[in-house]
């Protein structure tokens, strides 16, 4: 039933694309095709194994008239980890052709102060650089774990109303889409910790459960109010939706002296109140985000009287509200750009006691009339400031970007990670890599 529902959605999307591509040009004066080609290969520094290969061809059809804009992003993408014989060990995407976005903008419709966007779209809220605690409408695209800030498009209706200095945006997403997870070798990073059990597990079963296909269960919505005040841009938002990353729901069934374990990967509901701020003072730009989460509790009470003489309650997500926040600033001089951010709670971290602290920075030098850029990226993760020595990890990633011709970008990157095992980055410490990426825009 679910497969049929998805097939219908895909068919509908392709139908829409076809209609748009073949009929819109007859009504509008010009269809423009833009896009880019990108290829990336990464090699593990420890064992010289090829670890990542991505080939990506993105086509962006666009038709603009006075009151409408059609835009699509059709992508052929093959990516994944490589085996020793260099074949794709496991592609992270089963269908290499993806529609990242396809939407129609109706400007000044149904009244002059409102713009509508209908179709599959990205809805990037928040003011931060790449990491946005208040951007919670699109599911995360974690297929490449080192490419922060990628999201999947959502089929949505977005209405933006402009009332003088106040802008109100409303979004409705009828169908839930789960996050795109990375290859198995990385899934441990995103899988929540399983509770330790004082029993022997007889049989373990893992099931992925998606919300029922009706509006009440599947839909998400959000509203945002923005205003320019005291020289700064403020916004307050509210989102009611589901976690796009799964949360385990664990049920134990006694079988003799052992238990059968059923782990259902579900997507509980969450309500989020968000606040954003962006401004500038002198030579500094600054921004801040605060997202206050109200999660739905994930709790199962299993009857284990046959083994321990009582019921057992396993809570994998508490309903205690928690906050994720970000503070950042940037500065630029002639050949230099710097931005620094402090983040409490990475996108995949869920629950009050699971949030880590991250200090992120990017220092970028521009040389040779912009034909060479040398960015240094760094991240320090701290799980417990009181036990810093035992709970920190870091990532350091210098890059050299060459722009030999207009529209051509060649990036050589190095990534070094080290840290304690209890940290998120520490779990990736065997993934020191060197990479080469080529991008051509047209």
């Amino acid at each position: 039933m679910k497969t049929k529902f998805k097939k219908t959605l895909y068919s509908l999307s392709f139908f829409l694309l076809s209609i748009c591509l073949f009929t819109v040009p007859t009504f509008a004066s010009g269809l423009n095709w833009n896009g880019h080609f990108q290829t990336e290969t990464r090699v593990n520094l420890d064992n010289s194994a090829l670890t990542w290969q991505e080939t990506n061809l993105t086509l962006q059809p666009e038709v603009v008239t006075n009151n409408t804009r059609f835009y699509g992003e059709l992508c052929y993408r093959r990516s994944g980890l490589l085996s020793q014989n260099n074949s794709l060990l496991a592609s992270t995407n089963s269908n290499p052709i993806e529609l990242n976005e396809i939407y129609l903008d109706l400007y000044a419709y149904p009244w002059r102060r409102m713009d509508l966007r209908i179709g599959k779209q990205l809805i990037p809220w928040g003011t931060g650089y790449l990491l946005n605690p208040t951007s919670n409408l699109n599911p995360e695209d974690l297929r490449d774990v080192f490419d922060f800030g990628r999201y999947l498009g959502s089929n949505a209706l977005k209405a933006t109303t402009y009332l003088g200095e106040v802008t109100i945006t409303g979004v409705f997403i009828p169908v839930f889409t789960p996050a795109a997870l990375p290859h198995q070798q990385f899934q441990a990073l995103f899988a929540p910790e399983m509770p330790s059990l004082p029993f022997t597990v007889n049989e373990q079963k893992i099931e992925s459960i998606l919300p029922a296909e009706n509006l009440q269960e599947s839909a998400a919505w959000g509203v945002k109010l923005e205003k320019h005040l005291l020289g700064c841009d403020f916004s307050v938002s509210y989102v009611d939706g589901r976690y796009s990353l799964p949360v385990p729901k664990i049920t134990l069934t006694p079988v003799g002296e052992k238990v059968d374990l059923l782990c259902e990967l579900i997507h509980p509901r969450r309500k989020i109140i968000g606040f954003d701020l962006a401004g500038a003072y002198g030579g500094l730009g600054f921004w801040s985000e605060l997202a206050y989460f109200f999660p739905e509790e994930v709790k199962v009470t299993s009857d284990l009287t046959a083994i321990i003489g009582q019921h057992m309650e396993i809570v994998t997500l508490k309903d205690t509200p928690y906050a994720k926040y970000l503070i950042g600033m940037d500065y630029s001089a002639d050949h230099l750009y710097f931005n620094g951010q402090y983040l409490h709670g990475f996108p995949q971290e869920q629950g009050k006691d699971k949030l880590g602290d991250y200090f992120l920075g990017r220092l970028e030098f521009t040389l040779n009339d912009g034909k060479i850029k040398i960015p240094f990226n760094a991240c320090l993760e701290v799980r417990d400031f009181n036990k810093f020595q035992e709970s920190f990890a870091y990532l350091f990633s210098p890059e050299v970007c060459f722009y030999p011709e207009m529209n051509t970008e060649i990036t050589l990157s190095l990534r070094l990670i080290d840290g304690k095992s209890g940290t998120n980055l520490g779990k990736m410490k065997d993934w020191d890599e060197i990479g080469l990426k080529i991008k051509y825009s047209f």
């Binding site: 833009n34 896009g35 713009d115 402009y162 841009d233 002198g282 970008e409 825009s441 047209f442």
Partner: protein, 250 residues
């Protein structure tokens, strides 16, 4: 006798005629000249421009970019790149009180730009965000008329207190004939000459004076950007609403 007096008078007039511009310059103060420059540059109620930018590096290698720009009054300006593909859709919005936004299509976001970043290069050209913004030579600068030569006023503009353009001084060459700025030298915070802007092919279009060609030379990096005016429309009735984030992100 009468005839002799008339001849002498005529001779005096003929001899002093070439000095008229100097006398004229002595009549006008630097502030008055700048006011005329400002009213000339901001004369159209609004304007839509299509510009071709050619970036030329020290080895003579060229890169071409296309830009559309709209301006209303002296405070509102918006621009967007049409090409190259890697920069297509990058836009900027300049509003009063030093409010400046940039739209980055790759992130699908509008970003507020800090004041000092406005003096940084705009998308690889030799123009800064500030240079592309509206020109206000009367409010942020204290001015001095240095000299008048070759039918040009030469003005020295020192950054006034609170001026955050990133420049400490400007030297302006202004036509005595029509008050159009012909050349501007830009000096950095260390009072070192950093850029020179030259306006060429100044012509009247639809009743307004416009430079059809501008050249900005970065004298430190030996890099220049030529800006060619491809199309221009004046007084099309652009509304203030066209200069908002709503239109910038379209």
């Amino acid at each position: 006798m009468m005839r002799k007096t008339c001849c002498i008078l005529l001779l005096i007039i003929c001899l002093t005629f070439p000095l008229c511009p100097v006398l004229k310059s002595q009549e006008l103060t630097a502030k008055e000249i700048l006011e005329k420059v400002n009213s000339l540059l901001n004369a159209p109620q609004d304007q839509k421009l299509t510009l071709k930018l050619v970036l030329i590096d020290k080895n003579g290698q060229e890169e071409t970019r296309e830009l559309i720009m709209m301006q209303k009054g002296k405070d509102l300006r918006m621009g967007k790149f049409l090409s190259p593909a890697s920069q297509r859709g990058i836009g900027f919005l300049s509003l009063p009180n030093d409010v400046f936004y940039v739209y980055m299509p790759a992130f699908k976001k509008t970003q507020r730009i800090a004041t000092r970043q406005k003096s940084g290069k705009f998308a690889g050209t030799d123009f800064s965000y500030q240079d592309l913004g509206t020109q206000q030579y009367d409010e942020k600068w204290s001015s001095r008329l240095v000299r008048a030569e070759n039918e040009q006023y030469v003005l020295e503009l020192q950054a006034a207190k609170g001026n955050d353009t990133g420049y400490s001084q400007l030297i302006l060459w202004v036509s005595t004939e029509n008050f159009y700025p012909l050349k501007i030298e830009f000096y950095d915070q260390h009072n070192k000459l950093c850029k020179v802007l030259t306006n060429h092919k100044i012509q009247k279009i639809a009743g307004y004076l416009v430079a059809q060609e501008m050249e900005m030379v970065d004298v430190i990096k030996n890099h220049k950007t030529k800006m060619f005016l491809e199309e221009v429309e004046f007084d099309t009735g652009l509304s203030d609403e066209s200069f908002t984030e709503r239109y910038l992100s379209r």
